[in-house]
Symmetry: C2
DNA sequence: TTTAGCACTCGAACATAAAGAGTGCTAACA
DNA sequence: TGTTAGCACTCTTTATGTTCGAGTGCTAAA
């Protein structure tokens, strides 16, 4: 086990390194006001901490740098809970204050503000609309050959798609179809629409119409769109600020990853509830080797529907960011639950 | 004026530099098979070309590098028209072959393929839907307090927005509204909808309904969305491949610019028709100092509706890229005109 | 007009040296 | 016994030459 003094020194080393990005040496540590040990004592403790794997040296005679295990311990045991400035709090509240712009804009806004507050990169996975239920279906003819299929959910989300009309279909036929569809499918969750659309309506359609298959197929396809929420990334270039990313190759690795939607989704895919911290190689993604990721999911009611995350260097201001992410995710949960939880 | 030999040497220098990214010296030039002059002769010509401003030296005794003026002359007078491989041609045709996915996906696809073919960064400005006309308006109630307003254009584009329903409005009222709106506004271009919606419908609404103002206002607002097309960028990180961008600061400048939608729009905003080449500082944007941009607009019928562009280093394969951009823009014009020009 | 020859310049690569920050170890100290 | 001062040692960083090669400009000869 670690002695109190070792804990103290570990903490102060990591704090210092997070601030300065420079390996920290015994002499400089001893100079600090709140450190009352001599350099030699500190050196001894450092040697022990290194032996236990919490610290590393970049070369034989350099100052110490936290290891991944060191950060992990720091995050798990040494973190002094941060507090938010009033200005930060209001900035976050303001995101969802004005709902006129629509949910998507608000979520995008959240990403921007989050990255500005932290000067790291933010990732926001927009709410999944999977379990939302069909409110209304429409077919709007464009010309004789094509039409737009529209699906409106009970959350106000709209899916739409252009499709080719079958030959010789009449406006009245379309009206009949729309009526049947709405009659049979209102209230069906989007995730089940694909199967139910055939089961529920084929019989009726056959009785009154011909050439309906293409249209059914169309809706089935359209409903399969966006199984996952939209991804917004804010402050992509903030990584350039980090001194450990002066190297083009390193930046490139991270940038490349950020361009791949799928990778990003995998990265922040929600695991457990609450704030999660993944340090360096704890992330599956190779490119994240030198980065840390802090995620939290937000919910509607008790159901998690999306995730917010901050991506920064391993040398991240964990305390501040954790507080921030925690706060925002709760705020989002509150707002969204109030807005959308009427339907349960 | 330039002699034939000077033209030849200028061309061969630029060709070589585009390939190698290394300053080109007289000795190496003279070694080439198709060059039959001695290094000394070439040196003399180089000195003249430099004096005229077509070449530059990086330092007193280095090889020559094309100046911006040199590139400009090269592009305007020395370009051998490139030809496309069959595989490139089919790749381009394939973009719009399968329209099932919808126009937006296809445009995004164009950006991806363009960046893959060139290994530069591609920018595609999606078609502007401004002059498209209202085909149908809908109001779908979500619950007692809110509803979704939907605008479908004659091109199959769908705009939608959630809004709050006025107190105590009845389903029949909404139906009436929708009827009036469709009756009066079908065929109105989106750009004029904002004004016309009040002029055309207020009188009728007043006669039959109350509390309609909020709804009108709503539609007016929704129609004002996306005045410009959507922007897609492909291969953002391709700039990292360029040896002249080994420098983090340079990359950052370009990356930062690419994140700003507005800047990008300004950058590729269509000017003249045909393929445009902007070299280095010919672009207004500061960050483009070391980059070149090749743009071409595409049209529906005779009306330009969008732009495609390639962003690369000044040392770009102009010939190939110009051919490619030209080809794709024509292909897009053809396809889109066939699809959407029925309505004029 | 072209080219060979030559002196000269500059950058890249490499070696060397000195300075500075840091360590580990030992011995003295409280 | 835990703490600290002292010291030799290590390694990086920075500065300073040195050399090498690629390139130039100029002059004079072909």
């Amino acid at each position: 086990m670690l002695t109190d003094r070792q804990l103290f020194i570990l903490q102060i080393i990591i704090d210092d390194f997070i601030r300065s990005a420079q390996p920290v040496g015994s002499r400089n540590l001893a100079k600090k006001d709140d450190v009352s040990y001599s350099p030699a004592t500190i050196r001894n403790e450092m040697a022990d901490l290194e032996e236990m794997g919490f610290l590393e040296k970049t070369h034989t005679s350099s100052g110490r740098v936290p290891s991944e295990k060191g950060y992990r311990y720091y995050v798990d045991h040494l973190l002094s809970p941060g507090s938010l400035r009033r200005s930060e709090r209001t900035a976050i509240h303001s995101i969802f204050a004005d709902r006129q712009e629509g949910l998507e804009k608000a979520v995008q806004n959240a990403a921007t503000i989050l990255s500005e507050l932290t000067s790291y990169t933010s990732i926001v996975l927009g709410p999944r609309f999977n379990d939302h239920k069909v409110r209304n279906l429409q077919i709007i003819p464009i010309d004789t050959r094509s039409a737009v299929a529209i699906i409106v959910t009970d959350t106000g989300h709209v899916e739409n798609r252009i499709f080719s009309l079958p030959e010789g279909i009449e406006p009245e036929d379309i009206e009949k179809m729309v009526n049947i569809l709405n009659d049979r499918l209102t209230g069906v969750p989007l995730s089940e629409l694909r199967q139910k659309i055939y089961k529920e309506t084929t019989e009726l359609m056959r009785r009154h119409l011909h050439n309906y298959e293409a249209v059914l197929h169309m809706f089935a396809e359209a409903s399969a769109g966006s199984p996952i929420g939209k991804l917004f990334i804010g402050g992509k270039t903030n990584i350039f600020n980090q001194p450990e990313f002066r190297d083009v190759e390193k930046v490139r690795l991270v940038m490349d990853m950020m361009e791949k939607e799928h990778d990003m989704y995998e990265l922040i895919r929600p695991t457990e509830s609450g704030v999660q911290v993944k340090i360096g190689t704890e992330n599956a993604e190779q490119a994240m080797e030198d980065c840390s990721l802090i995620t939290a999911s937000y919910s509607v009611g008790n159901e998690p529907v999306g995730t917010i995350a901050i991506l920064g260097p391993k040398r991240m201001e964990y305390s501040r960011v954790i507080t921030l992410v925690d706060f925002l995710s709760h705020d989002m949960t509150n707002v969204l639950t109030r807005l959308y939880n009427t339907r349960t």
